[in-house]
Structures are given as structure tokens and as C-alpha cells.
């Protein structure tokens, strides 16, 4: 099977899953159901595509397939912000109630943080890329320490609001936010797509990339910023969902079996979308809403990933 056929298959799968998701058990008020579920489908498409896309680019830059861009502490920062707002202003404060305000604030904070982060670390001496990630992780732990402290003190009733934010939710996404995030997403992926052939070269590692004439430092910095903005957008839109990218990116590599990003990236987006749709259908019809999509995805993603790490390593 060629790469093109595989992409067609993924695309058809997506159409089938969307149809299934929109129609299964949708009796009665069709207009309402379709509108509500349609909005969720849009959210799935955006986040599934954005996160997988960002993860593939990130893994190519870092030259390995077991890291996720979330490792630099974006999720922790998002949770810190949400917890801080509930802790100081309460769950009924305007930033908690008004979704667009929350979205804006979260995006600005996460993007601002990562800009500052990369700016500091890319200045002067060039640090080891893994070192950079580890430093990011330290920031993450720092944020989590503060978050945990506040979460323990929060009134249990108020905590419910924080808890809702801990898990990505696709139900509460608002239509106008979808437009904003969607526009940002299309713009960013279009920019990223222009580097698809350079990504093929980056995957060879730094010294080959430099030898073949890439402005490595600059390219990596730009791509990392692209990756963090994508992740920030997705996180601000629905909430943190750490293992999605890891799961879908690796499924994409296994399925596509090519090194060319012009195929990997579109395929990855489709896999991301399909994974979320499947997950939601399972949550609704197997678990009957007893758990949430992000908990399921993180669970499956985590276990799959553990298997990846433990299986006999043939090629990586």
C-alpha cells in the first residue's frame, strides 16, 4: 500500500467516525444534537490535528520519538493559572465564567512563557537540546508545586471547578473560540508545512543538517516556537491532554512507514482527529460518561507508550 492510499484510508475513516459520532443515539431534537456535536467535532479536528502535528515536528527536532512538547511545563503553567484564578478570585470570577477571556489569558501566558524561555536559552551559548527540555521540566515542577499548594487549600466545592480544568473538555468549547483557534491553527500549519522538506533533513541530526546547508539554530528556534504556540492554542481551547500527541505521532510512524514529512504531517493530523473521535465514542457508549476523554486518552497513550519503551527495540 502506498503512502497516498494510506492517507485516503485515514481520511475515509475520519468521515465514517464523524458520521457515527454525529448520529449514534441522536434521537429527538436533531437540530440541537447536531449543533452541539458538530461543535465538538470541530474541537476534535482542531486539537487532534494541532497536537499531533506539533508533536511530530517536535520529535523530529529532538531526534527521538518518546518526548512530547508538553514536557517543558506548558500544562503545568495552564493549571497554575486556572488554580490561581479560582484560588484568589473564586470559581465565579469573570475569567472563569467568560471562556473567551480565559482562552486569551491562557494563550498569552503560555506563549509568553515559552518565548521568554527560548529567548533566554538560545541567547549566547548554545545549550544541549535535551538540557533545554530538562530545564523546561524543572519549570513545570516549580509550577506544579505552587498549584498543588493552592489546590489543597481550595474549598472542596470550588475544587470541582479546578478539577474540570485538569481534564481536557470538548463540550464546553465555544463557537467563536473555535474560529479564532481555527484561524491560528491553519496559519501555523501552513507556515510549518513550508518547512516539510527541511524537517526531513533535520531528522538526520544536527551535524548532517548543518552540512546540508540548513541554518540549524534559527530553524530549530522557529519550529520550537511554532510547536509551543500550537500546543498553547490547543491547551487553552480544551485543556491539557498530555499523552495524545505521543500516542498519535507514534501510531502515525508505524502506519505510514516513511520518513517524509509531507506525508507524515497530514497523516498525523488525521490520526489525531480519528483518535479523539474514537475515544469520545468509547467514552459515551462503553463507559457511559463515567470517565472523560482526556483521562482515557492519557491512560491508553500511557500504556501504549510503555509498551513502546519495553518492546524489543528493532529500530529507533
Amino acid at each position: 500500500m502506498g503512502v497516498k492510499q494510506k492517507i485516503v484510508i485515514l481520511f475515509i475513516m475520519m468521515l465514517l467516525l464523524i458520521t457515527a459520532f454525529l448520529t449514534i443515539g441522536a434521537d429527538g431534537n436533531w437540530e440541537y444534537v447536531l449543533q452541539r456535536r458538530g461543535r465538538m467535532v470541530a474541537a476534535f479536528i482542531l486539537t487532534g490535528a494541532a497536537i499531533t502535528y506539533a508533536t511530530i515536528v517536535f520529535q523530529t527536532i529532538t531526534g527521538n520519538r518518546i518526548l512530547t512538547p508538553n514536557i517543558i511545563g506548558l500544562d503545568s503553567l495552564y493549571m497554575l493559572l486556572q488554580t490561581f484564578i479560582v484560588f484568589t478570585f473564586g470559581s465565579l470570577s469573570v475569567v472563569m465564567v467568560r471562556a473567551e477571556l480565559n482562552f486569551l489569558l491562557s494563550t498569552i501566558l503560555m506563549v509568553g512563557f515559552s518565548f521568554l524561555f527560548y529567548r533566554l536559552l538560545f541567547k549566547g551559548e548554545s545549550y544541549h537540546l535535551y538540557l533545554l527540555l530538562l530545564i523546561g521540566f524543572v519549570f513545570g515542577t516549580f509550577f506544579s508545586s505552587l498549584t498543588t499548594f493552592m489546590q489543597v487549600l481550595i474549598d472542596p466545592n470550588e475544587f470541582q471547578t479546578v478539577q474540570n480544568r485538569m481534564f481536557a473538555s470538548f463540550q464546553r468549547v465555544q463557537t467563536d473560540l473555535l474560529y479564532v483557534a481555527g484561524a491560528g491553527f491553519i496559519l501555523l500549519t501552513a507556515i510549518g508545512m513550508r518547512s516539510r522538506r527541511m524537517l526531513d533533513v533535520l531528522a538526520l541530526g544536527r551535524s548532517h543538517a548543518v552540512n546540508l546547508g540548513l541554518d540549524y539554530q534559527r530553524l530549530v528556534r522557529h519550529l520550537l516556537i511554532l510547536v509551543t504556540i500550537l500546543i498553547s492554542l490547543a491547551t487553552a481551547l480544551v485543556g491539557p491532554i498530555m499523552f495524545l500527541g505521543l500516542l498519535t505521532a507514534n501510531v502515525t510512524y508505524e502506519f505510514m512507514r516513511t520518513h517524509e514529512h509531507r506525508w507524515l504531517l497530514p497523516a498525523g493530523m488525521l490520526v489525531g482527529i480519528n483518535t479523539l473521535l474514537t475515544g469520545q465514542i468509547i467514552v459515551e457508549h462503553v463507559f457511559t460518561f463515567e470517565t472523560t476523554l482526556s483521562v482515557i486518552i492519557n491512560f491508553i497513550g500511557g500504556v501504549y507508550f510503555l509498551w513502546l519503551l519495553l518492546r524489543k527495540e528493532k529500530h529507533r
Binding site: 518526548l67 530538562l134 489543597v152 499523552f243
Partner: protein, 317 residues
Amino acid sequence: MKLRYVLLLLGVLAFVSLFIGVSSLSITDLFSMTEEQREIFWSSRIPRMLSILIAGAGMAVAGLVMQQLTQNRLVSPTTAGTMDAARLGMLVSILFLAGAPALVRIGTAVAFAVAGTFIFMFILERVRRKDPIFIPLVGLMFGNILGSITTFFAYRYDLIQNMTAWLQGNFASVISGEYELLWLTVPVLLFTYWYADRITAAGMGESFARNLGVSYRTVINTGLVSVALITSLVVLSIGMIPFLGLIVPNLVTIFRGGHMRKNLPYTAVAGAAFVLICDIFGRTIIYPYEIPIGLTVGVIGSGIFLYLLLRRGRHGS
């Protein structure tokens, strides 16, 4: 610095810490305590001080042992999934073994911590890229996986906020009768001191250890079990204390070089002192309220860890 002086400093700090707290109890009261003061002194202040010393020393030594076994200065119970495994074990024991005797529940947490640490070592052997900075990243990802499994169950049983509370290291709730479990750490610590040279030899690699007549597998396994025991006992009685096992051994190595058996007492004392200082700080800064140790160590530890990382990065390694 001689160990003697460090110990003296620790003693002074420990003594001072006894007289910090909400209920009034000053040094001058020491020999004329009221009934109430005596009660607080023996059932709260002393246990708290002791648990700090034990937990601080324990986590620092656990980190040192892990670093020797993996030959990687950035590995510790925080960055190898041990803490997360212990937490998962705690959740399992609460959910499924609620009626079982305490020993069974503790055993479960320890078993999970042991299993988690072994899986991490197993992954390490599989990972081809032995980049020293990559290894802790693998451990962190592994810890996150365990975390996601814990969350999966915690969410179903509506225990998220409780889990968060356990996650956070806190000495405030330590009172006599409930922290004694921690004392089990002490024999394990003494054992690692006695065992230190073998751990160093095994850390050099299988062929190196064989050559010295050390049974590689046995030493690695014994070392890992000790680490898991210490970590799970601390997590069970205090909570998670991030970075401790990472920064204390590294700081000690900077000042004293890398001989494990000689360093071990310093690491233990420095770990205890570090936690004690953080605790005193946390108890005084917003007096009469207190900041839990998880937060103080988390914040101060992040700073020190960053310093260590950047210092290392500058040497071009």
C-alpha cells in the same frame, strides 16, 4: 568541612526547630513545661523534628544510591518514576484493600515502588541512546505514564483532591502514633552505608563488577529495593518531596568528589539539614500559617537544580 561540624550545625537547627510553632513554647520553658506544653512537645514537636531528619536523610541517600546504580547524576526517585509508582500503590491499597491490615497496605505501596523502579531500569537497558540528559527525560515520561494511570482510577472514584493532598509533602500532620512507620527507613539507611562499596562497583557496569567478584544482579536488585523502600515509606508518611534526591547528592559531590561510601554520611546529614531549613523557613515566613514542605522544597529545589543544570551545560558536556 568535617562531618562533626555539619552534625553540630544540624543539631542546633533541630533544637531550634523544636521551638517554632503556633502554640507558645520557648526555650526558657524547657525545664518548666506545663502539662499542655509537654503534650505538644512530645507528641508533635519531637515527632515532627525526627520525621524531618529521617525523611530528608532518606530521600537524599535514595537519590545517591540511584545515581550510583545508573551512573547518571540526574537520576533520582523523582526522575525515575519511583515516587509515582509509590503513589499508584497507595491509591490501589486505598481502593481495593481498605479493610486490610496496615502492613498489607504499606506492603502494596512498597511493592509498587519496587516494581516501578525495576521497570525503569529495564527501560534504561533497552534505550539505545545513553545520553546522560536523555535518561532522566525517559524517567520523567515514565513517571507521567504512571501518573496517568493513577489519575484514571482516582477520577473514577472521585479522589482527585485527596490524591493532590497526598502528593504534597507535608510535615504539619505528623504526630506521635502516626509517623512511626518512617523509622523503618533508618535500618535501610544503615544497610546502604554498609553496602555502599558494592553499589559503587556494580554502578561501573556488569563486567567491571564481575571482575571485582561482585555479583552484579544481586547488588543492583538490592540497591533498587532499598531505594524503593525508602521512597515509599517517605511518600506514605510525608508525601512527595521533589528534587531532594537530585540536588543534595549533587551538591555534596561538588564539594567532596564522588566516593560513595565516604559521601553517604554527608549526603544524609545534608539532606536532613536541607529539609529542616526549608521547614523552619516554611513555618516562619507566613507565621502563624505554614507553607507545606512540598512547596518550599519544590521552589528552592527548582532554583538549585536549575543552577546545577546550567553550570553543567556551561562545561560543554
